[in-house]
Symmetry: C2
Subunit: 424 residues, 2 copies
């Protein structure tokens, strides 16, 4: 079968499954998720075998050890995946919620209710645990999923999806077997083919490297919810509690530097920079953070840190994902917002201040998925937000923004209940 | 200035205006809208002059009289445009609504609040009144607009936008003058250039012909909310109140056949087809509706209507926008839903029945923007839904679905209120 036929078949099967999924009861969906969780634990042998083959190939192809670690499954990770599915089963059903209800003067009752999107294509990189998480969230929200993970994890992803769909079939023979599908070809053109099927594929989403996200967005004719980079800022205002500011800055940079909600640029109000900068620079340097500073900061830090790197224009755009921090002294809150608006990625930004009006200005004018007043940017996360589980962090504005949990995997439709109303 | 530079300038100016619009108070936005409405009435001279030039050009280029009529402005239409703006001013501000609020165990308060999208590009065809409607809705929702109407209406659109922005400047000299902009080149490549500016343009939306919508969607790298065709169905179930069914069918087809929420295909349950079809065919034929029927319907109608056209495969996909109706007899509700799922455009569909479970099945499984039980498809409309005003009917699922009023022109962001929370 040629590539485009394979993709058309996947899309058709997914569309048929989506119609069946839309009419499943909450109880059936939850029972199916629990059966899938149990199968992931009981049938771990086959999954670990497939994973061992992926790992052996990865090793012989010279994959970096960090990549191999992300790829590796073991008993603990499989249990985490199973528990993730159990957690999804325990969450409220996002489908059928009444968002709005109105009765018109002619007696027509209108209800705006949440409904599944239909078919969701998830494109992600090499972590095979995403297969179970994403498939579980899509299943609970009544969507058929087509998963396209990294080619390094092809056998692992296929094994995880097979165990889940077999469990589904055993528990509920009437349930659609194509609810969860995996793209089995490593061919990169498969993504393009899949996303060209406008009529079938409704939404694509992923977490991973910047280049692939751009490529997906550019070849797609369907809406793409992008999980793009996080160039997150902390702005320490002139009237900040400096002790609090230190704790937030250190947390946002150092607690887990390799994730998208970690701070990449520190903005410091010039009013407190002479006091705050030397103190925070000492602490960050002690924590092995490399600073890249603008001229004003360099001047203020010259005595204690004579060899600091200068920040270049490209540093303001950088998502280091590492113990590196760009530092800039700004004239005021206006300049801080200007900087974030120009260089930020609209992910997560924070102001530390005791001044209410300035905080409210920052919250209103910084146009990011999450804007914090006196709290670390690291909180932008489905679990921390109380969503229970997430499929990623959307940096888009249309469709879903910020952490994407179950609710963000639904759309809505209008239901009209009449007794013969016609328009005059 | 070359085309791409012009478009970049428009986009930059719009982005700067968007930041200013985001911080306007509701009172200021409403006062500005009222000033714009007044100016449209007081400065009608300039607008009508520009419109006369467009009309003269259209006449000499042989525009069809229906097109000329859509293009024509007069005192009445200008008053309607002005009153449209006054109505938008009277509606609640869609920005700053708290959609969700939660306090996490660590004391971090999270609020999900509506916020403007940013820059909205509206691409539409030759009706210049859309300029005022769309710009007013975008302004009230805190978005900067870039309007690209049909080239036949270029001068009219420019005049309307100029009167509105001048009124804005006079009333509020501090308000952003680039809040409302019109693409002044008739060059079709301008759309492509504009939509390629991913970093600046956030959402594009339009009403109009199918070909242009597809072209826009294909060249756009930004989310496009499409107002696509309406292939709307009425399914008359075996247990329908046949009198009610007749009224709904006639209303959905004949009350205004040229609009997207008019019925294009009638599906009749075979259980009542022998009774219902001859009766409704007589009434529709008397109202000058041309029927295109499947074999079963032809057989049932043979005695009274020996010369009916046969429906071809393409008729099931057709948006006639005219007094033409495709008619099909279906085995049951399942077959009706199958037909709608295969041929429909996910706009508006209706079931006429007295059977509650069947109605609920139809409402749950027909995946359209609006699904009606015992009411005409013609109700899918911002005004009829009580939204007060609309920018069009979205047939997409991501972003907005169905009538797009003020709320549908916003996105949301998460605000986090802390007192020093850090992640552990």
């Amino acid at each position: 079968m040629i590539l485009s036929e394979q993709m058309l078949l996947l899309a058709r099967q997914a569309k048929a499954a989506a119609r069946q999924l839309a009419r499943l009861s909450t109880a059936d969906k939850n029972a199916a998720l629990l059966a899938m969780a149990e199968a992931l634990e009981k049938e771990r042998g086959g999954i670990l075998e497939a994973n061992a083959l992926d790992l052996a190939d990865g090793t012989s192809h010279g994959l970096a050890s960090a990549m191999l670690d992300r790829l590796r499954l073991d008993d603990r990770r499989l249990s985490l995946m199973a528990n993730g599915l159990r957690e999804v089963a325990s969450l409220p059903d996002p489908v059928g919620r009444v968002l709005d209800e109105r009765v018109r003067p002619n007696g027509l009752k209108l209800q705006k209710v949440t409904s599944p999107i239909g078919v969701i294509v998830i494109i992600f990189e090499s972590r095979p645990n995403v297969t179970a998480d994403a498939a579980g969230l899509c299943f609970k929200s009544g969507n058929a999923t087509i998963l396209r993970g990294g080619k390094e994890a092809l056998r692992s992803n296929e094994a995880v999806a097979r165990v889940m769909t077999n469990a589904l079939k055993r528990r509920f023979p009437h349930l659609p077997e194509h609810a969860i599908q995996v793209v089995l070809t490593p061919d990169r053109d498969a993504i393009k083919e899949l996303l060209a099927l406008t009529g079938y594929v409704t939404c694509a989403s992923r977490g991973g490297g910047e280049g692939l996200i751009r490529a997906v967005a550019e070849c797609s004719r369907v809406p793409v919810i992008k999980h793009y980079k996080g160039v997150c800022h902390v702005y320490v205002d002139g009237s900040a509690d400096l002790k609090m500011a230190e704790e937030i800055v250190i947390n946002a940079k150092c607690q887990r530097p390799g994730v998208c909600n970690a701070m990449e640029t520190l903005l410091v109000d010039k009013a407190i920079a002479p006091v705050f900068l030397p103190a925070i620079a000492r602490k960050l340097t002690a924590l092995k953070v490399e600073l890249r500073v603008d001229d004003t900061a360099r001047e203020l830090l010259r005595n204690h840190f004579p060899h600091l790197k200068s920040a270049l224009e490209e540093d303001w755009y950088a998502e280091y994902l590492d113990l590196i921090l760009a530092v800039r002294v700004v004239d005021d809150i206006e300049a801080a917002i200007d900087h974030i608006s120009r260089y930020g990625s609209a992910h997560s930004d924070c102001i530390v201040t005791r001044d209410g009006p300035r905080a409210r200005k920052f919250l209103a004018e910084v146009d990011s998925a999450a804007v914090y007043w006196n709290a670390s940017t690291r909180f932008t996360d489905g679990g921390e937000f109380g969503m229970g589980a997430e499929i990623g962090i959307s940096t888009d504005k249309i469709g879903a923004r910020g952490p994407m949990g179950l609710e963000e995997l639904t759309t809505y439709k209008w239901l009209g209940f009449g007794n013969g109303q016609i328009r005059t």
